[in-house]
């Protein structure tokens, strides 16, 4: 009974998670336009709207998100090339820092997408995984609201989800230690001997 309830709950949560993908994809598309045309705000604004229209035309939440991720990775590559190409010596440190932040955001977004797929596959396993995903997204939403950035949202989501999942999955295993070997009495040994067991 509880498995059925968990299954229904997990499906509802998965549906809700899927519903967040389009808005996430739109934000990512806007960010990638801003990143790619960093020196040209007018062009960035123009392209952002165009990319948003492109995302809107993609069917399905996951496809929207994957398209947006592709755009973000390409924008990141362009931005890195531009930053390094201008003045490698001076800009390298700044570009590295920025690339790490942006890269972390993109990796976190990919992790969330993979996480979603994993959760969908694990629906039958139980509610623990889904709980971790939902808790992770909640933490991410709070972090994103405080920091007002997509990076904080995605990074904290992925980190919290992984941490919670790990705790749920591994803590019971760590607790489950093998029982201590106690000295058996002569009569116990005799009772548990294979000969006696087969006789029973």
């Amino acid at each position: 009974m509880s498995a059925i309830l968990l299954g229904i709950l997990a499906t509802v949560i998965a549906d809700q998670l899927c519903a967040t993908f389009p808005s996430l994809a739109l934000k990512l598309a806007r960010w990638s336009a801003a990143c790619r045309y960093a020196g040209n705000p007018a062009k960035a604004e123009l392209r952002a709207e165009e990319l948003e229209a492109l995302i809107e035309q993609r069917p399905g939440g996951l496809l929207k998100l994957s398209t947006a991720l592709g755009l973000a990775i390409a924008a990141l590559a362009t931005a890195s090339r531009r930053a390094l190409g201008k003045n490698p010596v001076i800009t390298i440190a700044r570009a590295t820092g920025r690339a790490i932040v942006m890269g972390a955001a993109v990796i976190a977004a990919v992790a969330v997408a993979i996480w979603y797929l994993y959760c969908s596959l694990c629906l039958l396993v139980g509610g623990a995984v889904m709980f971790a995903a939902v808790a992770g997204l909640t933490v991410g939403a709070i972090a994103g609201a405080i920091d007002r950035s997509l990076g904080a949202y995605l990074g904290w989501s992925a980190a919290a989800a992984v941490a919670i999942w790990w705790t749920i999955t591994w803590l019971p295993r760590l607790r489950r230690r093998p029982p201590r070997r106690t000295r058996r009495t002569q009569s116990e040994r005799r009772l548990r001997s294979p000969r006696n067991l087969t006789r029973r």
């Binding site: 062009k43 123009l46 392209r47 709207e49 165009e50 990319l51 948003e52 229209a53 492109l54 809107e56 035309q57 993609r58 398209t67 592709g70 755009l71 990775i73 390409a74 924008a75």
Partner: protein, 117 residues
């Protein structure tokens, strides 16, 4: 007229498609339609469109006219400029003559292996 500094497969695909739609009198070619027709990814297509629009001035974009009841992000349609038509003809004549022989045909992406014709 500024000629292309580097002619790549995606560049030729997008240019051929733009020329085909121009020859057919169709002016509703937007990013997603180009991606679908050329089977190229978004960053590749938009990279080519950037080159054609900003660096070379071969294409111009115009926003979709939305009805008052419509909302959401607008599409951007791309068409060849007169300079772009001449430039595209020159490039395609050299690299993909088949595209000029049958303008307005149903456009299909060229095979990617040997040659582009």
């Amino acid at each position: 007229m500024t000629g292309p500094a580097r002619i790549t497969g995606p560049f030729l695909d997008v240019l051929e498609l733009l020329f085909a739609t121009y020859a057919a009198g169709d002016e509703s070619l937007h990013g997603w339609a180009i991606m679908k027709a050329t089977k190229r990814s978004g960053p590749t297509v938009y990279g080519v469109l950037d080159r054609l629009e900003d660096e070379m001035g071969w294409i111009e974009g115009r926003w979709e006219q939305q009805r008052p009841d419509q909302s959401g992000p607008r599409k951007r349609f791309y068409t060849l400029t007169p300079t772009g038509v001449a430039g595209a003809q020159a490039v395609l004549r050299q690299r993909r003559p088949g595209a000029l022989r049958t303008p307005g045909r149903q456009w299909r992406p060229a095979p990617r292996q040997a040659g582009a014709q």
